[in-house]
Structure formats: C-alpha cells, structure tokens
Symmetry: C2
Subunit: 157 residues, 2 copies
C-alpha cells in the first residue's frame, strides 16, 4: 500500500471536521500535514474522480467532502488512490506445462490457487467497505475536532 492511502484518509477526516461551509485548498492541507503540495494535489484529484471529494476551482476554491461521511467507506478511498486492480494477479502459471511439452488439459476456472487468495482479498475489501469515515470521526478522541478547527486556519501555507 502506498502512503497515499494514509494521506487520503486523514484528509477526509480533517475535511469532515472543518465542515463544508467553504472549500479547503490543497496548500493548506499540505502545510497542515507537512506533505508535498503538488503531489498531495494529485492524490486528492484521484479522490475527486471517484466522487469521494468535490472540488471547486477558482479563487477561494479547494476541496470538500463529496458526500456525507457516513457514505464514504474506507474501500472508496483505498480504491480511488491505489487503483482498481486487485493485489493478487493470476498469471495462469498452471497452464505453462503445456509450453514445456506436457499435453493440454481441461482447467477449472478459476485457478484454485487464485480463488483461495482472492477469497482472502475479498475479506479485506469487505472489511474496508464496512467502515466509513463517520466511524473514524466517532472513534477519534473528544477534543480532536475542536483542536483542528481552532488551529488549522492558523497554519501558514
């Protein structure tokens, strides 16, 4: 997993705390978390394309949540940033004996090995899809939202 996932999730939580009265520019988020601004922008754009965030261009523009926190699952964020492809890619190794001279056979689909690993992968995805940004907000300590709302605007971007 790239670290972009961590960035994305923390940005979502922060945006939720700040509310969506007015959009937050990337420069501020980058300054807050001490991240490279240009690169963070790329990641946020990916979240916009997935509908997790919405962006408003122009002066006083920036990013805000694309929908309420209860409807943003961790799976949404991970999928948007890491890309849609699964972590286990079956290259059909099992068929290669044919290249090496063995006679062709009937193979069940999918490959048993691939199916087994994918079962685990589905558990991972299901667990991610079962948690929302709202859950993260609920689990955060009491003063966290206030602390953010108080000091975020003061950070020099």
């Amino acid at each position: 997993m790239g670290e972009g996932v961590e960035w994305g999730l923390h940005c979502c939580v922060t945006l939720a705390w700040l509310g969506d009265d007015e959009p937050v520019p990337t420069a501020r988020l980058a300054a807050w978390f001490d991240l490279p601004p240009a690169y963070l922008t790329k990641r946020l754009q990916a979240l916009v394309k997935a509908g997790v965030l919405s962006s408003t261009p122009g002066a006083r523009g920036g990013f805000r949540l694309g929908r309420p926190p209860e409807r943003i699952t961790l799976m949404d964020v991970v999928a948007a940033i890491e890309g849609p492809d699964e972590m286990f890619r079956c290259t059909e190794i099992r068929r290669r004996p044919e290249r090496s001279g063995a006679p062709a056979r009937q193979f069940p689909q999918p490959c048993g090995v691939a199916a087994a690993v994918r079962k685990a992968e589905m558990a991972w995805r299901r667990e991610l899809a079962g948690q929302t940004v709202a859950d993260l907000l609920a689990a955060a300590p009491a003063g966290a939202a206030d602390h953010t709302r108080r000091h975020f605007p003061r950070v020099t971007g």
Copy 2:
C-alpha cells in the same frame, strides 16, 4: 502482491502431488512452470527459511515440503515470500501539525486511521491463515495430481 506468491503456492501444490520420496531440484520446477530458474531458487530459499519447504543439497538434491500440507497455511507462504511487514505503514501523519506550529496534543494509540485499516488487514491475514495447502489439493480437479505425476519427470530442464 508480487507474483512470487503465485509461484510459491503452485510449487507447494506440485511438490505435494509429487510426494516427498525424493527431492525436486529447482531446475525441474522452473522448466515445468516456464519460470526463470535462478530467480525461482531465491523464492524457494525464502520458503525454506520459513520452514515451509526443506532442501537437501548435493547431487539428487532439491526441495520437498517441510511439513505435511495440512500444516502449511497460505499465510505461511505469503509471509515467507512477501516479507513480514504489513501492507499499511502508519507514518503518524496526525502528529505533523505540531511541526507546522500547532500546539502538541495527547494522541491515542494507535492512530484511529491506522487501526481501521489494520482491522481489514487482519481479516485478510486471518482468511489466509484459515486455508492450507491441503485445501488446495482437495479443491483441485480429480486428474490433476496424476497428470502432474505422469508428465513432470518428462519435462526437459
């Protein structure tokens, strides 16, 4: 996930089918699956170090299963090949506002974001640990073992 995982699992299944009367050299496995021999060796060595396989040096040496298939979980193979580190690494982004001028706070440990993702990661690991190579053998089609035993020795390494 690197493709080494697929290699490792298929090799385990094949080794199980071939039985452990006599060890199987890497060159044969590589020829069977049409894989780069030197690189496959590296992966098998990792499995040996984890106890999944055992190796016998010298002429007529090679690899065989390190323990019965029922006691080799998919987690064992994945951990041996992919390494012990978790896929999500928390870099404690949440603390960085302090660097940017915000006052220090008390943070719960672990970070809520990290905990949420790790919960999903645990589901993935649990699912992998719940399946063994023996399960893969049981799920394979009827003739697969025979087919392998018949044609494997004929492949020119």
